[in-house]
Structures are given as C-alpha cells and as structure tokens.
Symmetry: C2
Subunit: 383 residues, 2 copies
Amino acid sequence: MIQDFWNEKALFVKDSEKISNILPGSALTRIMKDENTHYGVKEIARRANVSIATVDRVIHNRPGVSEKTKKKINDIIIELDYQPNVLASRLASRKIISLAVLIPRVSEETDFWEAPLRGVMRAESEIKKYGIQVLPFFFDLNDKHSFTEQAELILKKEVQGILLAPSFIEESRQLITACQKLKIPVVFIDSNVPEQDNLCYIGPHLFQSGYVGAKLLTYRLKENHKVLVVNISKEKDNYSYLQIEDGFRSYFKDHSQPCEIIRIDIKDTDKLSVTKDLTRVLFEHPDIEAIFVTNSRVFSVASFLENAGRKDISLIGYDFLKENIRFLKEGMIDFLICHKPEEQGFRGLMALYQTLVLGSPVEKVHFMPIDIITKENQAFYQN
Amino acid sequence: MIQDFWNEKALFVKDSEKISNILPGSALTRIMKDENTHYGVKEIARRANVSIATVDRVIHNRPGVSEKTKKKINDIIIELDYQPNVLASRLASRKIISLAVLIPRVSEETDFWEAPLRGVMRAESEIKKYGIQVLPFFFDLNDKHSFTEQAELILKKEVQGILLAPSFIEESRQLITACQKLKIPVVFIDSNVPEQDNLCYIGPHLFQSGYVGAKLLTYRLKENHKVLVVNISKEKDNYSYLQIEDGFRSYFKDHSQPCEIIRIDIKDTDKLSVTKDLTRVLFEHPDIEAIFVTNSRVFSVASFLENAGRKDISLIGYDFLKENIRFLKEGMIDFLICHKPEEQGFRGLMALYQTLVLGSPVEKVHFMPIDIITKENQAFYQN
DNA sequence: ATTGGTTTCGGGTACGTACCCGTAAATATA
DNA sequence: TATATTTACGGGTACGTACCCGAAACCAAT
C-alpha cells in the first residue's frame, strides 16, 4: 500500500534534469548551449518582409494582420525559437500588473502567517521592477464573514491574479467561481480545495506529513503504549486536520503497531480550555507516552506539560513559531514539522508572475518538503 | 557550552523582518509602501541642473565630473533614494559578464555534484537575460593536479567572478590569492577555507551537522553501547571531516553519555576495502549498535550491512544521492543529513550576480539548513 | 470614377540607462 | 594675448519591445 504511494508521488517530484555525459578530460567542458545567436523581433520582421509593428501584433495576437502574414510570421517565430526579452518587454510596457494576496491576518494567537507574508514581500521586491504591484488583503481566521468581505474588495479592484489561503472551503469556492468567470488565475497556498479548478496548489502533502509525524513519534516509543492526538481548532469541518490524522494512523497500520491512539478535539484555543481538556485526558489515560498535535498550537500543549511537570511525554507538533522554538530549545517539544511557509508565499506569487508575465506554464501541484526540526538544527532552518 | 553556541549562531541566522502592527479591521490594510513615485536619472539630472550623462558618470564614478557637482548629484541620489532600474541598465549595457564555476566533476563514484550544478544552471537561466554568462569548469576529486590546471584556465579567461568548491585547501589558496590581486570576487560553496578572504561562504555548519547526527543516532540507542564513526575518503588532511567528528563527539560530551565511540578511516573508496575494514571492526567490536558515516559514501556501508545481514545496526550518513535514497527506502539507512547542495550552487551564483550587477552587499557567511531526511519525507525533499 | 469604409500595415516614439563623441569652459603654456 | 591642453559637461543614439497614429491598399457601393 505504501509502495503504491511512492510510485504515485513520483509524478509530483520534479524530475531532476539529467546531467550526463560530462566527459572527462582536462579541457574546458561546456555544458550550457551557447545561445549567443539570440534573435529579436527585428530579425523576424526582416525575414518576413514586414515591419516590427506587425510582428508585434502577431506576437500579442492583436487584430489587424492578415491570416497569410500571420502564418508566415508565426512560422519564423517557431523556426528562430524566438524568446522575447523580458527586460525590454517590461520596460516598454507601461501598464502595471496587480496581484492580490488574501491570507489570514497575523494575530496574537499565532504568528504563523508572518512567514508566507514575508515570502510574498520578498517576491514582490523581486518582481516589482517588472511593473508588478502586490495588494495584500487579510481576513480573520475566526470570522468567515471577514473572508467574504475581503474577497469582494478584491473583485472590485480588478486584479490580474490572486494568491489565496483557502482556509474556509465554501467561501473560497465562491471566490474561485467568480474568478473563473473573469479568467483570473488563482493560486492556493498552505491548504488545498479539493476538486476546484485553480492555477496551482503550493503546500504540504498533509497525509504524508502526518505519516512522518507518526514515524518520529514512535521512534522512541516503548511498545504497546498509548499515543494522544490533539486537535486544537475552532473550525468544525477541518479538512486539513483529517488528512493529517489519516496519515498519522496509516503509519501505525502499515507497521502493524498495536499502539492505542486516543484523540481529542479542543474547540477553544485559550489556555484554560487546553489545560482543562488535557488534564482530563491525561487523568483518564495515565499511560499516554507521546502527544501529536496536528497544527501549530503545540506550544500550548508544551506549556501545559511544562506546568504539569510531565517531561516524560514526547511531544510533536507543527510550524516554526517563536513560541514553539522556545519549547523546542527547552526540550519540551521533541520535533517540529514544517512546510516552508515563507517559500509558499514566495512561490505562490512567482507562479502568478510566471503565468501572467512570462506566459510559461506552472506545475499544477507543488508539494513542499516535510521538514523535521529539532533543537539541534533549528538555528539554521529556513522557514 | 552549547548555550554559547546558540548565542553565537544568532549572528548568522537571518533576522526575520518584523511585521508588526498589522491592524485589525475589515478595511484593506496595506503593508508595502507605495513606491509609485520612483525617480530615475532624468529627475536627478533635472534637479541638479546637469545632463543625464553627468549623472551617469557620477553613478558609475567615472572621471570627468567636478567635485562640486559630484557632491550635489550624490546628495540628490541619497535624497531621492535612487534605485537604478536593472532592466534598463542591463538592456543598455552591451557588455556581458562572465562567471566561472569550478566544482568537482560528476563521477561514477558519486553524483553529489550534480545538485550544485543544477543550482548553477538554474541561476544561469534566471540571470542570463541580464547578459551574464556562466563558464563551468570541472576537476577530478582524486587528482589535485586537475584542479590547478582548471584554475589556470579560469584565470586566462578573465572572468569577473568565480564560484568555487575549495576541495583542495592549498590549491584553492593559490587561486584565491591570484583572484585577490585581480580583484575578482570568489564564492565558496560546500566547504570553507579557514582564514582566507572571500566574497562569501555558502554551505553547512559542519560542527553542528555532526552534532545533529549524534542526536539522531542516540535517539534509539540503548545505553552504554558502542558507536562507530566511519570516514571513507582518499584525502588525508580532511578538514571538513574533522569538524563533523568534532560536533559529533561534542554531543556526547554535552549530554554526558558514557557511550564509547570507535572510529575508523577507510582510505580506499572501493567496495572491497570498505568490506574488509568494516568486517574487521565489527569483529573486534561486536557490540556496535550504530554507525555514523561522515560523508555521502554511506551507501557503501549500507551495502555492506545488507550483505552481512546486520539490519540491527542503525545507520546515518550524508546527502541525497540516488543510492543513498535507495537504502533509505529499504530501511538500511535510518537518516540522511543534507545541506541543500542545489541551493548552494544557486545561491553561490546569485551572490556573484548580486555583487557584480546589483552592487549590493552579500552576507559573508550563509549557513545552509541541516536537513533531516527519512524514508517517509524523502519524496518531497528539495535538494 | 469617386466616395466611404475596412483591412492591413509601417513610421516613429517611448521606456530608463549606458556610453560615444563633440564641444564649451577652465586652466596652463608660450 | 594667443594658443594648447586639460577638465567638465551635454547631445544624441542604442538596447529590444510596446503601442499610438496615420497611411496605404483593398473592397464595395454609388
């Protein structure tokens, strides 16, 4: 079963280009093709006996060119393998492209979304020289209404592309449907919306992430002991969570571990609720040996365990948050799993840039690595 | 002691920009400054009552401008926070910049250097539109002479920057000294040359990498058992190896583990030598419970263990090589540690680009993350 | 043949910077 | 004072593409 999984994944993992035939010998061995002979519109125009303007019309398929010359020019374009000069193109084009970013606001509860935002800003600073403008919009993770509100604002702004964290599935669906009508490409980050058409998804493979979590958890587990899965979230229908737990449980199935898995939902994210619920569970199951928290709120569990003096329990959770790192350094948290949130923001914007400016295709699904962070390697982690 | 280390490292780890004061409220909250008012040389010239050409001369500090006007123009440049338009700049400048890359050839023994080369090529395709040319040179890891040979070729080519894998310390020193005289910036990747001036170093923090290796190794270790450190290398004075082993041993010191550490140097990399030496060591120390291989040749140890039927021994090594991944999947290797070799190649070239084209400063040392790869997360690893 | 309309195309300028070339001004020399 | 030499600066063109504007060329109807 797991074997099938690897094969399936092979489709997603980027094929590393083959660099073979690097000949031995002391002489200089060139790999890259010399592309010194780079033709532009001028050469195309010359060969087709037309003006640059006509070539330009064909390239941007604007009207005003006869079918005959259009074909002739297109043939020459293909023959010369014409690659437009992005520099000159963006320099000459005076219109600016607007991209909207809709992600959760950085709240006091969690600073997780700082990282994707950093990635977005980094991407913006890289591509604003090409005349691209980024408009950030934020919604409240505890308020679905704020999401729809911001979504409407975006649609009014007439942007050319959207980077979206589809935290609320139904509300996201509405926005995406509207974008499809307007032919606006949408990129999802952090979580996916199943069976919804989009430009691409950039984020974790949640099932496998839970699988890795289980592996790490069992690594120092004694046999036949209990494991606790904790889900702290206000959201009811948490699709992401289900995938993670699915992967987590699959690991035990695949390795036929007879380990008992307790689970608990904590609906309120405040400290009191967490303390209350955990106290109860640990009282009912005193032999719990490890805890797996399915999201970034692992710090609240760590805080509880620290106060309760339960340093014997292994703890694994998600995300490179300041508070989590603190507990990781202290040894209260054993492992953090992380999916490169900053990279997600960065790549998300770049995917839109690639589509709208460069016109080159992007991969439909881009899974982030499942990074394992420990006390020892955290200082060098690149979020 | 280890505490000091963290504090020291804090200097290297990039400060994540503070994104605070993101106000609540449903209205659109902008973060980025609107930089619509972007002035160019024309505006500078207008304000200084000079021509564009004069401003240009000041910007590139070419001669032919009086001190007085030079100062006036520089003041205006600072006042307006002038940012040159890289697009226009590279478009107008017809000269191409050549960068040399000197790294080991991809050999049959190891395909490790495929990854940095991929990174280099990726960087090249991103910056060749700015008129930058990359000249790759390769040397043989078993032949110091080939290194000096290629180094001389590079110097003849009159390149403007060099990306270097300083595998041979003394030979690298010679090249670097020559480059200093010629004012050619040099970037090191993968390993550093101590006390040698360079533009920057991009690679692992080897000490800490060994430290992480020890942590992972002890994770499933029973108490009071023996650990074997294996160094497979033809090179005698292996500086990198010493740092890794130093970190590895430090972990045990810091955690006062009474674990006995055996070590062995295997000078010949062929299968027979490895088999012979390992057989002897395992015979002398039958209670060895875990093996730590200090470089990417862990696959040869895995192969030996597989044939010897010793699945009981934990095995940790380095690098995301095809053969290593195979043994990781099979379960013969427990963990691989990896330092993003592709990223190293990419960033190395981009550092040169940043210096030579953008003229912006680069960090002197850029440590790569210490990535932990397991059977479960390997499919999503980005080398 | 003339008019009006449409289709098809070319000239030319602009984007922001680099840099050649020529020249006025400043200074030195006779 | 006249001339040579240096210094300081401006005009103008080019990079490769986008796109406005206008003008042929063609067609159809009067």
